[in-house]
Every structure is written in structure tokens, then in C-alpha cells.
């Protein structure tokens, strides 16, 4: 049960080529088809879906590959977004080009990843979760308050008028005529995001089957054994944090340029949990699953907004449950149900499946406490 994407990227079959070509055409035409059928607002939703795929891919490295539960992941997204915003807006009057600010944002996020990782490496899963949660909140609190005594982040007001991503005079923020076709801003961003998403998928894929990837999985399965096998668990864990964070930093920079406005309210705990849901629901450790999870969870609120209200109207004559509350409720239920019945997610990776589904007949080894299994 190898995943389809894996096959596609290795291109080892003839019909994989056909599938690849078909997929490429679909992805290339998607914004135009969406624009024609549903309107440009939906192309913007596609753009956000791609951003979330990048975020989910990054978190997947931390949670899926290395098995470290990170509840403050959105902090790295914030670091990337604010790096881009501070260096490309009237806030400081700086207008660095994106090829400086985007990599710098990723790098800074990477540094923050190490900063968070270093002191927490020795912690067991549940402690790590709560510490990362605290870390995420600390970053948000600082972003929210660094408007005094020296105004850096503009505090809760956020930073606006951020430069769109541009090369010289060619700005992605404007409509362009190319090859006889009209490319509005949302389409241009779509293609940029798509390229970067594919790049991140490629990197994730290569990492997964590299020495590092195998080391991550070894740590996830059994840290003590991994260490005994000569893996430098400290460095390898730090690397997971750093890699995951850099993905988020990149996505953050893109978000800032695309949105033109960042404020601390976009980087709350709910966002971290939503990204976690994408990874868990789709399938921890499986790239295809993570992509699926991200797309589903971006579309879900839209579907609920247009679906849940009218359906309730039709059934009960009034809206009993606010679609927004329904969304969070469904997220929560999904987390529980997936862990109970399909712990490896909707689209599981082969390895993760074997490991997460507790097999019958395997006698538990002696354990410290009821929940402290050594697996």
C-alpha cells in the first residue's frame, strides 16, 4: 500500500506518466476552471488551501515523522509572516525583495524551532505538547505587546500595507496579461504557492526516505533503541523542529505578502490545533494524507457555511447550531474518532498504520503506568 504520490514522483511506471501529466494539467487549469465555475473568491480559497498544505507538511515532519507533538506550531508561521511584514512594509520603511525576506523568514523560524527544541528535547510527549503550547502563546503575547516602549510589531493593530510579492515592476498583487490570457492576482499567487508546495512535497518525500527520515522514525518508534543504534537523538530531534519550523516560516512570509496585513489574532491556538487536525485526520507521516487533510479542512468551513445553515433551515425551520461552532465541534469529534477507529488517518502511511493500530494478541510489556506503554 504505497501511496500514489510516491509512485508518481518516482515515475517508475508507464501509466504513472499518464497520471502525472493529467494531474499537472488539472493543477495548471484549476484556477481558471474555478474562476469560471465558482468565481474568484474560490480561487482565493484554493490559495489558502495551498498555504495550509505547506503548514501541514511542516507539522507532519515534527508530528508525523519524528512523533513530537507540537501544539504551538503556528508560532513559526507568525515568525515568518512578521519577518516578511517588518521588512516589506511602511512599518520601518523597509522594502526588501521577497527573495531576501522569504528565505530569511524561513531561517528565523528555523532558529526559533531550535530555540524551542533545545530545552524541551528531554521531555516526554505530553509535557512537550504543553510546553510547545506555552511557547506558541509566548510568541503571540510578545507580538501583541511589542509596540511599546519601542514600537516593533505595532502591537494588536497589526501591520498593513505589506508589499505584495514582486520582481521589479512585476507584482503578483496586480492583474497581468500574459500569453493572451488574463492572470488576476489570485491566479498568480496560486501558481507561486503551487510551485512552492510541490517543492516542499518533494523535500518531504526525499527526507522521508533519507537517513534522517529513517532516524526520525526510529526515534518515534523507540527513542532508547534509536539511541542505542548510534543515532544522535538530540541533533535529529532538533533537525525535525528546525525543518518543520522552516516550512511554516516560508508559508508565513507568503501569507503576509498575499494578505497584505498581519495581526496577532491570526496566530492563535486555534490555528495550531487546526493544522494538527489536518495532519492527524489526513494521516500522520503520509504526505498524500496530509495534503488531503489540509484540503478537506480548508473546504469544510466553506461547505458548512453554505451547507449547514440552509440544511438546518430546511429541516427545522431555523438555524439551531451556528456553522462556526459546528466547525470546531466537528474538528474535536474528528480528532477523537480518528484516533479511536482510524489512528493512522484517512490516508495512512503503511508504516504508521502498523504502528498506530494496537494489534490484538500482543501482550503488553511491563509498563510504568497504565498509559505509559513503551511503544
Amino acid at each position: 500500500m504505497r501511496n500514489a504520490l510516491n509512485n508518481l514522483l518516482h515515475l517508475n511506471k508507464r501509466n504513472a506518466w499518464v497520471a502525472f501529466a493529467a494531474l499537472a494539467i488539472v493543477l495548471l487549469l484549476l484556477p481558471f476552471a474555478t474562476d469560471a465555475l465558482l468565481g474568484r473568491g474560490w480561487v482565493r480559497i484554493l490559495d489558502f488551501a495551498l498555504l495550509y498544505i505547506m503548514l501541514a507538511l511542516g507539522l507532519n515532519i515534527v508530528v508525523g515523522y519524528a512523533g513530537l507533538l507540537d501544539l504551538g506550531y503556528v508560532a513559526f508561521f507568525a515568525v515568518g509572516a512578521y519577518t516578511y511584514a517588518l521588512l516589506g512594509s511602511p512599518q520601518f520603511g523597509l522594502h526588501f525583495p521577497f527573495w531576501i525576506t522569504l528565505p530569511l523568514g524561513a531561517l528565523l523560524a528555523c532558529l526559533f524551532g531550535v530555540l524551542l527544541g533545545a530545552p524541551t528535547l528531554r521531555l516526554r510527549g505530553d509535557y512537550l505538547a504543553i510546553v510547545t503550547l506555552g511557547f506558541g502563546e509566548i510568541i503571540r503575547i510578545f507580538l501583541n505587546n511589542l509596540d511599546a516602549p519601542v514600537n516593533i510589531t505595532n502591537g494588536p493593530q497589526g501591520i498593513g500595507m505589506i508589499d505584495p510579492i514582486h520582481v521589479g515592476e512585476f507584482s503578483l498583487g496586480r492583474t497581468h496579461e500574459l500569453f493572451g490570457l488574463t492572470f488576476p492576482a489570485v491566479h498568480l499567487y496560486y501558481y507561486l504557492f503551487l510551485c512552492l508546495t510541490l517543492l516542499l512535497i518533494f523535500i518531504s518525500q526525499r527526507l522521508q526516505y533519507s537517513r534522517i527520515g529513517r532516524a526520525w522514525m526510529a526515534i518515534r518508534e523507540d527513542e532508547v533503541a534509536a539511541e542505542a543504534m548510534g543515532i544522535n537523538t538530540r541533533n535529529i530531534k532538533l533537525l525535525a523542529f528546525a525543518m518543520g519550523a522552516s516550512f511554516a516560516g516560508l508559508a508565513g512570509g507568503l501569507f503576509a505578502g498575499f494578505q497584505g496585513f498581519v495581526s496577532p489574532e491570526s496566530f492563535g491556538l486555534t490555528e495550531s490545533i487546526m493544522i494538527l487536525c489536518m495532519v492527524v485526520l489526513g494521516g500522520m507521516g503520509n504526505i498524500g494524507g496530509v495534503v488531503l487533510g489540509a484540503v478537506l479542512l480548508v473546504l469544510l468551513p466553506e461547505a458548512l457555511r453554505h451547507g449547514a445553515g440552509p440544511v438546518q433551515q430546511a429541516l427545522f425551520g431555523k438555524t439551531l447550531v451556528d456553522p462556526e461552532s459546528l466547525r470546531m465541534l466537528l474538528f474535536g469529534l474528528a480528532l477523537i474518532l480518528v484516533m479511536l477507529w482510524r489512528p493512522a488517518g484517512l490516508w495512512p502511511s503503511a508504516q504508521r498504520r502498523r504502528e498506530l493500530v494496537a494489534e490484538d494478541g500482543v501482550v503488553q510489556q511491563e509498563q510504568d503506568t497504565v498509559y505509559d506503554s513503551s511503544k
Binding site: R124, I138, L329, L333, M339, L356, V370
Partner: protein
Amino acid sequence: MCRFLFTGSFLEILLQQIINGLVQGSVYALVALGYTMVYGILGLINFAHGEVVMIGAMVALSVLMLLAGSGLPPLLVLLVSLMVAMAVCMALGYGIERIAYRPLRNAPRLAPLITAIGVSIVLQNLAMMFWGREYHAFPPLLPNNPHIFFGAIITEVQIIIVLVALAMMGGLLLLVQRTRLGRAMRAVAENPSAAALMGVDINRVISITFMLGSALAAVAGLMVSANYGIVHYYMGAILGLKAFTAAVLGGIGNMRGAMLGGLLLGLIESLGAGYIGDLTGGFLGSHYQDAIAFFVLIAVLVFRPSGLLGERVAERS
């Protein structure tokens, strides 16, 4: 700061901040006891505990409202609502354990953690649908008269909170150390398989542990609401987080540690928020109050993962 050192009001304000810290700390301790008890027995952090506190407060409020016009004496009304809240929370605790934790006992640690987060989200949103998003006023049923000690004010309900927190810690210690059930709990904590072999019904002990923890949560919910006079669906999340920090600070799994950690965290927050502006010359202010708690948490986990009084080590063996 020096400006106030020599005025009479400096000591009064300091004393007031200490009282504030102790009261807030007792609130944390009340909630932290629930975390620490479940952790002590099962080695599992019940992330949904804060939401159970919130449900307890909400249920108590609903019963209070229902009985408001009945003409019963206030103390009886309060007792009835506490009983109902405890019963509901115990049922909830039992249900959470059965549905979200028990099936995952042999799964990797990540699994119950994720379901716990799921349970918190579900409880929070159910409460929001059921009781609405707005803030509710909690009727002042507990005596709320102020007493003045050396210029600092403490109300009766605040004194009650400190006493209840101490009493609950004592009661729990007695239960765990002196009763048959307590012995079974300790046996399960020590080694579940060996305990099972010795005839302990592990499932029953675990269920009871959860129910006790949830009953504590109901008491905590009622006390917190009575103190602030306000209840709302989001109150459990941040309270749970702070209480967890308190439990870790004191040494998770240790009842005395939960009390000590709660009081210390309350004091740190209160004095921190009160004086950080003066101490840093306005560079940092009370807007970092919540960050203080998280810094404490990270510092404790890094430098003394077993907490101040803890025997269990927070690291992975």
C-alpha cells in the same frame, strides 16, 4: 519602586498582592489537584480537566437559576447545585475515560493526547451551544463581606476558597494513604499488571479515579465562579492550563505539590503583574502576566522536571 517603600501604603499594597496571589493560587490548586490525582494514578495528563471545571460551573449555575425562585434557603440551594454539578461531572469524567482514553491504553502516548485535545474542543463547543457565548453572572450566594487586615482586603468567599482547597488536599491525601481504595490506586500507579494479578480491578479503580477528579473539578468550578461572579464557556481552557502549570511546578502526581505549586504560581503571577512595571522601569508591563506562567512552566520542566516536591520524573525513561 523606592517611592513607595517608605510610605505606609507600600506594605498594604504588598500585603494585598500577597493575598490576591494566595486566593488565585488556591483556585489553581483546586484545579491542579484534579490533574495531579489522575496523573499520579495513571501517568496520563487529562487535558480535558479544565473543561470539566467549566461544565461544573455551568451546571451549578443552571441549577441555581432553576432554584432561584423556589424560596429555599440559599445555603441549601448552593448545596443542591454543588451536588448536581458533582454528579454531572462524575458522569462526564466516567464517560470521557471510557470513550476517549480506555480504548487507547495500549496505543502510543500520542493517541490519548490527541483524543484529550479533541474532548476539550468538543466540551467547549457543546457548552457554547448549550449555554451560549455570553458571560453569565453567578449569583452571590456565598458570603462576600470584606475583612480588612492591616489595610488589605479579603472577602469571606476568598477565605472559603483557601480553606476548601486545603481541605480537599487533606481529604485526598487521607483517601489515597489510608483507605482500601487508596491502596488499590497506589498499586495501579506502581504497576498496573502486578496490581491486576493481585486482584485489583484496574478498570474500576481507573473509573473511580476519573470520577473523583471530576468531582473535584465541579467543586473548583463552583468556587471559581463564586469568587469572580462570572461564568462563561471559555473559562476552563486558560484555567486548566495555569493549573497544569501549577501541578508541574509542585511536582505532578503529588497532592502537596499541587497545593504548593498552585499557591506559588498565584503569588508569582500576582507579584509579577503588580510589580513588573515598576521593577523594569516600564519596559515590561502587566501585559506579560500570562507569559510569566508559561516561562515558569518551561523553566521548571527544563531545570527540575520532577517539580518541587515530585518523585516522578517528567522525562521519558
